[in-house]
Symmetry: C2
Subunit: 735 residues, 2 copies
């Protein structure tokens, strides 16, 4: 690889790649470990040589691929921020996997505090803050302070409110959270129970929790940290319920952090993931706040208690769409991380010997056992060379790229839409909202499934926290429920698609002309069969694949529209809506991937990068089609012969991607500092790293201070083992 | 329901059901909680009334269903054992979700010790021990002592060895574990590196770990607890490597529990699940044991070091098949538990208002809000009434029953096979081995997916450990990798099926005649289309469904056999093998379910139970077919019209199961003590229970001792909030 990378040594991408590798394991001796241990080596072939051989196989330069993925500028931010974070002892991750909840919370609080200090001192902008948070890779109690509390003040507060509260919040004089969800209500905001009743004689609102189920619940940062909350409560004035509105509510004293009287606040308890965050609950017992604590940018209550609705019902989808676009991009990175660990470890891990599977493996072909090894043991096959392992993992690599290109597409289209909206043009909103809902649902579902599949593909060691996958999956998983439940959300997308297909049928002139439209295909005629695929090779033509995706999605939308026109009710249509949203978004994913793989401008000087992307894009198209095959087949669009070809061509496609597998995950440039994984390390020193981490397990460290005898022995084990025996009984020590 | 159950009051099933309900939440006051909290009620409709309405809808008597599932005898054991375990403070589960790893390990050790005492005092038999372990519901350090160490001594030891070692082990004078897996080798036993070299002049074996990767790893109970291990090591005598053999190796002194010199032993660190177990590693540095510590029932090494192979190569599949059968039955129970939580909570949880969805809900129809509630808030629809929720959850109920009937079938056929083997008849072995491999793979995969889907269907609260699902899923998940990786295992099944289909083609007289055969269908002719389904109603005929499953499985086997006959190599066939094994085992699941649902003997007096089972069986057949639809469709066997009918009939089938949903999960009689779930409680007091559990979170308990101020405030929060402000600064307390 050196010849390929030399020209890049000075650029930001090269600098980023130079920081990817973490420290060598087992270099520092620990107390209480016998000398013979440090003389042991892993058996050969070792991880380093297996990964080196993989990297030599790649058809493209990983630095060039990284540039295509992120661009030089972002890689510069990445490298600079990594230098700061990785060097700071507060952000050391060495003990993360051993900490119980209370320690982990406290440890994260220390990070929050340090982060605030660094951000101030180094004047971090939004990009730097985002990257720093990605590197720290653990949600924190202050996440909602910057992620929800401040944006909410900004968008819902009057100019005066913004000036006052944002000033305090920006400097962490107050720490805020956002309290919407209740114990009994999540998705249905209109069903919230908490009330804010206006009392004109006092010019105050009385915040009250009428029932147990009205407790605010799950609020990040509220449990132990926040001093203030934006509380969504039903505004009641002059006896009328005006529905949920936002209020700034002081929670804890700025003098001593004690909760105020009339408030009962606490942590909601342990969770899958997010255990470093104090997601909290709060109950209000007729708790009073001044009138000016209602956020009144839009709706207002005057001194007398008169309610003033906003002049125009403002559509505030903007933030929501941005968050969803960000989640799509995050899903790509998350999946890339799962793939990085599993693919590297699959190249290092060897199990059984299959010479046919290993015929392209130079390490296998030139194997001689090391002196300490049993000469009877043959070289084993790297598990990445088993076809079933490829079938499990390579589509995940392809998905990570697909999600990435659609994530960046969403961020671009979001910017365009916001610009249009500022110019008074709302045309793009419904389409982008529909895409963002369905894509959030689909991509977080794909990523959660892919990370878990990657973890399982690591065999037994995938269960160890040291693999880096269980803890990370737990942190990712809530995204399938947060910010719109992945099942509920599909109704948003389906509703829009149904509307479009009806409109296009009634008025063909309304069919979009632009190639950039995500719904233009809904205006195409339905084809009787897949004429574009006449031979097996046609499966490698992106346009042919995209045609099939468009056909399937349109057919499903038309079928449901027809059923509903005949009277099928909404509740009986939810299963089909879920299918439609998925089909549409898989079409978008493939479309954007094709667009990126054939991006002549970016890829002109990098034909190998383009070629590798095309191969991956085809694999994405084929493997996704296979996983949803019945929907392509059931109307006769795809024939029995074409199905047989498809199954064969997936194997061809896996073989085409095989030499690039490790390079494709390397291209994400996820540093060992983030992976925090014994299995996924850049250098392949899997087994050394597993051991180093195990030696630091507190059960071991603690026992080593007691002559290597576990706490609890005297109480629970000794009475059992030595029952009826006096201590002087002369049993054989060993038996 | 009282009229239905009165006649059963005195039998074991009724007694079991009477013990299902746990203690009422929020009945004991805690320190530091304000009075107003205890006056709050959950909003109506509350969980109790929703579940009562569900239970009134059921078409069958749950006690009768429980009897069909387990029989009276097993329910008797269950009730007796539950009385002992639930009453014993050592087995209290109240703090389980709050404990960090070290505490949880220690707590489990106390249980292990108490369990040993109880088992001895109460003279528990195997069934009682098994039930007690299911109730304790947490793997322990002694699990491998009784689960692997003792069975291994029993099957591999000479009579003399068995007498000596089993006597000690039975009385917990020694505590054993089973050390096979190494850091670098799991599935491939022949690749193990640890050696046991015979030294004739000392009459000893030298156990040695030549490399870092040869460390034994993952061994349950080894890390901190065991005194002895059965170690699988390559026997080397007279310079010849005879491959892996079992040796009893003393690990820790029986005097003081210290590890012996020449051994490095410890815990492998934190994991997903199993954190109460000290899965351990061990390295041997030329560690000597006497010759008689080799387990010599079959292979022997004499004083001079001559190796004596066993007279007949004994097939020792017995234990393995039993373990797999047990895992199939366990998967059923696990899935039933996931379904119990999700179905009950879906009946309690209400979100949005859809009168059409709620038209069969008497609670919705007769709703009046409680006095403390906002009269503006309408009654919401129970989420179980949304069709998408039914589509997610009801197939899981059906799967739990399908797995159960096949699990019990496997246990019966195992007993029959072992009886045959003892009579010298090995005929059943290959078929049962093939079924056990594929079913272990399929059922643990189904259960893991189903539990996670059940968890996600609970929305946000599904992430709380209090839901009872995250911790439980983590304990279950390793089963997809343990005892044969679920992907690898399918090769065993596929190999057998390929062999049968070739044999039947060559020699039709070899086609099994018995209806009990799992492979008779491989001898049937391949049909061109699904003639058995002529109208939509035919989808509710079990025989028609089973025909389709048989056809699809046979076609896949024949296709692969044909490809391999034309030269497709083994490694290129693994994807198809996975599909074949799954198809065959889905056929077995459906076949056994049908058999159970039409079991005239057991169901004669219980026609409603039979009718409910038939409905559920059809749902299992339809929903499984839909999830694998392309394999049924792609050769034209199922037509486009039939597919459209299938999708419609799934909705019909979901509606048919709907009234029985809660009763079907109640029938498993899983006690609240085991569920340990706020969401899945029998009494539906979901929100009260969530609160009670949250109040006990150590972060809250700890803060309450400090005026409700979190530890870490002085260090991390105060400096930030009050930066530059003196303590006497007269800021407004609230701002």
């Amino acid at each position: 690889m050196s010849k390929k990378t030399s020209k890049d040594e000075t650029n930001a991408t090269a600098k980023a790649h130079a920081r990817v590798r973490g420290p060598e394991p087992l270099t520092k001796r620990l107390d209480g470990i016998p000398d013979f241990f440090y003389a042991l080596k892993a058996s050969t072939p070792d991880g380093d040589s297996s990964l080196a051989a993989e990297r030599a196989k790649a058809s493209f330069d990983v630095h060039a691929m990284t540039k295509v993925l992120f661009g030089e500028q972002l890689m510069g931010v990445f490298t600079d921020t990594l230098s700061v974070i990785e060097a700071d002892p507060v952000f050391n991750k060495e003990n993360r996997y051993y900490m119980g909840r209370s320690d982990r919370f406290l440890n994260r609080l220390a990070m929050d505090s340090r982060f605030a200090q660094l951000a101030r001192e180094l004047k971090w902008n939004d990009a730097q803050r985002t990257v720093a948070n990605l590197l720290i890779d653990e949600p924190g109690s202050f996440s909602l302070h910057t992620g929800m509390f401040m944006p909410c003040l900004n968008s819902q507060g009057t100019d005066e409110q913004r000036k006052y509260w944002l000033g305090l919040a920006h400097n962490y004089r107050i720490i805020g959270c956002y309290a919407q969800t209740e114990l009994g209500h999540g998705s249905n905001v209109q069903g919230l129970e908490t009330t804010a009743t206006y009392i004109p004689e006092k010019e105050q609102f009385e915040i009250h929790s009428p029932t147990l189920t009205s407790a605010k619940w799950w609020v990040g940062g509220l449990g132990k940290t926040a001093t203030h909350a934006v509380v969504m409560a039903r505004l009641i004035t002059k006896g009328k319920d005006m529905g949920p509105h936002p209020f700034i509510v002081p929670i804890r004293s700025l003098e001593d952090h004690k909760p105020f009287k009339g408030i009962m606040v606490g942590d909601v308890g342990p969770k899958m993931g997010f255990n470093c965050v104090d997601n909290g609950f709060i109950l209000f017992n007729k708790y009073h706040i001044p009138r000016d604590h209602m956020l009144m940018r839009f709706s207002k209550v005057d001194k007398e208690g008169n309610y003033h609705a906003p002049p125009v019902q403002r559509i505030s989808y903007g933030t929501m769409i941005f968050v969803r676009a960000y989640l799509v991009a995050s899903s790509a990175l998350a999946l890339a991380r799962g793939a990085t660990v599993a693919v590297r470890y699959s190249a290092v891990r060897r199990q059984f010997t299959d010479p046919e599977a290993s015929k392209e493996d130079p390490v296998f072909q030139h194997f001689t056992p090391a002196p300490q090894q049993n000469p009877k043991l043959k070289c084993e096959t790297a598990v990445i060379d088993y076809s079933l392992q490829q079938f499990r993992l390579f589509p995940i690599i392809a998905q990570s790229y697909a999600l990435h290109f659609s994530g960046f597409w969403m961020l671009r289209i979001y910017v365009k839409m916001m610009k249009n909206i500022n110019d008074g043009n709302l045309d793009l909103l419904p389409e982008v909202h529909a895409a963002s809902s369905g894509l959030k649902s689909l991509t977080t579902t794909i990523a959660a499934a892919g990370i878990e599949e990657a973890r399982r593909s690591c065999g037994g060691h995938g269960y160890s926290l040291f693999s880096g996958l269980p803890d990370f999956l737990n942190t990712f998983l809530p995204l399938v429920t947060l910010e719109g439940d992945n099942h509920l959300l599909t109704q948003q997308t389906a509703r829009y698609l149904l509307k479009q297909v009806r409109k296009y049928a009634q008025d063909p002139s309304s069919i979009p002309k632009s190639e950039g439209s995500t719904t233009k295909y809904l205006g195409d005629p339905l084809l009787p069969h897949w004429a574009a695929v006449k031979t097996e090779k046609d499966f490698h033509k992106p346009a042919a694949l995209l045609e099939a995706y468009a056909h399937r999605s349109k057919r499903l939308v038309v079928d449901l529209a027809t059923k509903m026109a005949k009277g099928q009710i909404w509740n009986d249509s939810l299963i089909e809506m879920y299918a439609i949203s998925k089909a549409h978004c898989q079409y978008i994913l493939l479309k954007n991937f094709i667009h990126a793989a054939y991006d002549e401008k970016r890829l002109a000087k990098q034909p190998e990068v383009g070629a590798a992307l095309v191969k991956l894009c085809i694999l994405f198209g084929l493997s996704t089609m296979q996983s949803e095959l019945s929907e392509f087949v059931e109307d006769g669009f795809v024939s029995a012969t074409q199905i047989a070809w498809l199954r064969a061509q997936i194997k061809v496609s896996l073989a085409a991607v095989r030499p690039d597998a490790v390079a494709l995950v390397d291209s994400w440039a996820i540093p060992d500092y983030v992976l925090n994984s014994a299995l996924g390390r850049y250098d392949g020193k899997v087994y050394e790293s597993m051991f180093e981490m195990a030696l630091k397990e507190p059960l071991n460290v603690n026992a080593r201070t007691r002559g290597d005898v576990v706490e609890g022995y005297e109480e629970y084990l000794r009475p059992l083992i030595r029952r009826g025996l006096s201590d002087s009984t002369s049993e054989k020590a060993k038996l």
